[in-house]
């Protein structure tokens, strides 16, 4: 537990509407591990990820990133703690009118807080690092192109490069392949696993598709109605166990 980069303990989340999204969920992801959270719509998986990312606060429980208790921090301390965790969303969320490299360099802004970057300048000294991150996702020849011209899969890889440029210790991905075609999906999933294995990051990815989880994950975390039902390597998870996650839920 102590060596885990992503930790969550007894998370409860009740939204103002009264909806109880999480009921005591706990998990831990070690460095170099690619963990996938599976669950039906409304199982609380996105809520879980948002709490770990420090975007929302849980009603109860704690989440730590690289030892920092992200659930207790606010304001500047939270912004600092967030630098240790990169995030990838369902949509690439790139600034479409800027170049791909400029988007990637935006990932380094947290480390360069000065007047120049506050006024919209990019940290020039990070350009080699940005290009390195782009090379990592196989997009170095697109560096000068506008982000709006990339295909869906390329844009998502550029978003991963931006998250890597941040030099995080953990990477969170919220349904990163939900709007991609099968080929782009496999590229992105391979890339996430590669990041975990080669950069020693803890990667926590929320997915919809059990087959992708089986193929790529080091560990599958099954979430149903806000409770973690199992957390085991794909080989030890049976099909009925996965099907049970989706049973009786409106899809």
């Amino acid at each position: 537990m102590s060596d885990a980069l992503i930790e969550a303990h007894g998370l409860f989340m009740r939204y103002p509407t009264g909806w109880l999204a999480l009921e005591g969920a706990s998990l831990a992801v070690r460095p170099g591990e690619f963990a996938v959270v599976l669950g039906a719509n409304g199982s609380g998986k996105s809520t879980l990820l948002r709490i770990v990312a420090g975007i929302i606060k849980p009603t109860e429980g704690t989440a730590r990133i690289a030892g920092q208790e992200i659930t207790r921090l606010t304001g500047r301390a939270l912004a600092d703690a967030r630098m240790a965790v990169g995030m990838v969303f369902q949509h690439a969320n790139l600034v479409k009118r800027r170049s791909v490299l400029a988007n990637v360099l935006c990932g380094t802004l947290g480390r360069h807080r000065n007047l120049a970057t506050a006024l919209g300048m990019l940290p020039k000294q990070e350009i080699p690092h940005g290009m390195h991150c782009l090379a990592n996702v196989g997009l170095q020849e697109f560096a000068a192109q506008r982000a709006g011209t990339l295909s869906g899969g390329q844009a998502q890889r550029a978003a991963i490069a931006r998250a890597l440029a941040q030099r995080p210790r953990a990477l969170l991905a919220d349904e990163p392949v939900a709007s991609l075609d099968p080929e782009a999906t496999n590229q992105v999933m391979r890339l996430l696993r590669h990041v975990a294995a080669n950069e020693g990051m803890a990667v926590l990815c929320v997915l919809h598709q059990p087959d992708l989880a089986r193929r790529y994950a080091d560990r599958i975390i099954g979430l149903r109605r806000g409770v973690v039902r199992f957390a085991a390597p794909p080989g030890e998870v049976t099909d009925p166990e996965i099907e049970a996650l989706y049973e009786g839920t409106a899809r």
């Binding site: 975007i55 600092d80 967030r82 990169g86 970057t117 506050a118 919209g120 941040q166």
Partner: protein
């Protein structure tokens, strides 16, 4: 339309829309009522404005007289009138630039998705509404009283009115913006100001430029009029020439205004096309 029916035509039961809803089949009594209502509205407007077509006929000779006296335009006045024309354009440029500089931060406060606090949101909305709802001619009257005659009160009036017009449009652009990149930068540990300059500004900049160019076009039109209340420019010259019965100068000034307005419209449209 281009589908042809071959063989026996099969008559299916078609869902018939409720007949009352169909405008074509509405009872003629309703149509008559609408026509009468429309005529009543038009006639009362004629009564209220005291429309007397016979006056137009009796005034025709006077009009012909003015037209005759305005012709030919006095082109010797071209060079002396060039400076006021220049002033008119510069009043519009100054007003637009100052308007954008003030309206943009105000719009950020007045957009629901970027405002830092509720109180600031309502304050900014109210300020924009006041600037917009008071016509620029009234602003010009106020500023002429405050800072005296000349182009400066005109420029101030256009600035203030532009803040109102631009502020509302820009706030709408910001509210319709894709929030994804902003959320993404927030999770990288970037500060508020960095998120603003790296995600919000590049996203809305093309719309901002387009709206500003359109405003410049409108402001050149306004600035022509503002001279009538003493706020400088070509409008003031037009008023003076009218008062002095120099109709040949008036016709020259009208030609210059025409060129200015059409030129500004074309230029603004061409530049906006390049941005899009």
């Amino acid at each position: 339309m281009n589908s042809e029916v071959s063989g026996p035509v099969r008559v299916k039961s078609i869902a018939v829309p409720p007949i009352r809803r169909l405008r074509e089949i509405r009872s003629p009594a309703w149509t008559l009522l609408y026509i009468i209502l429309f005529l009543v509205i038009v006639i009362q407007s004629g009564v209220v404005v005291e429309a007397r077509p016979q006056d137009l006929l009796t005034g025709a000779s006077g009009m012909a007289d003015i037209l005759a006296r305005s012709f030919p335009p006095d082109f010797s006045q071209f060079w002396p009138q060039l400076w006021p024309a220049f002033e008119t354009v510069d009043i519009a440029i100054f007003g637009t630039v100052v308007g954008v500089i003030i309206a943009f931060p105000l719009a950020v406060l007045a957009a629901r998705n970027t405002t830092p606090a509720r109180l600031l949101y309502h304050g900014a909305r109210a300020l924009i509404a006041v600037c917009r709802s008071v016509p620029d001619l009234v602003w010009a009257l106020l500023f002429v009283t405050a800072v005296g005659l000349g182009p400066f009160p005109g420029a101030l009036a256009i600035s203030v009115h532009s803040v109102g017009m631009l502020g509302r449009l820009l706030a709408e652009v910001i509210e319709d913006m894709d929030m994804g990149p902003i959320e993404a930068l927030g999770t990288t540990g970037a500060r508020r100001m960095q998120i603003f300059s790296h995600a919000v500004v590049p996203t809305v900049l093309p719309s901002l430029l387009g709206i500003a160019l359109y405003r410049l076009d409108e402001n050149i039109r306004s600035s022509l009029i503002l001279g009538f209340v003493g706020a400088g420019g070509i409008g003031f010259q037009l008023l003076s020439a009218m008062n002095l019965f120099q109709y040949r100068t008036v016709s020259l000034l009208l030609i210059m205004m025409f060129v200015l307005v059409i030129g500004a419209e074309r230029l603004s449209a061409a530049l906006r096309k390049r941005i899009a």
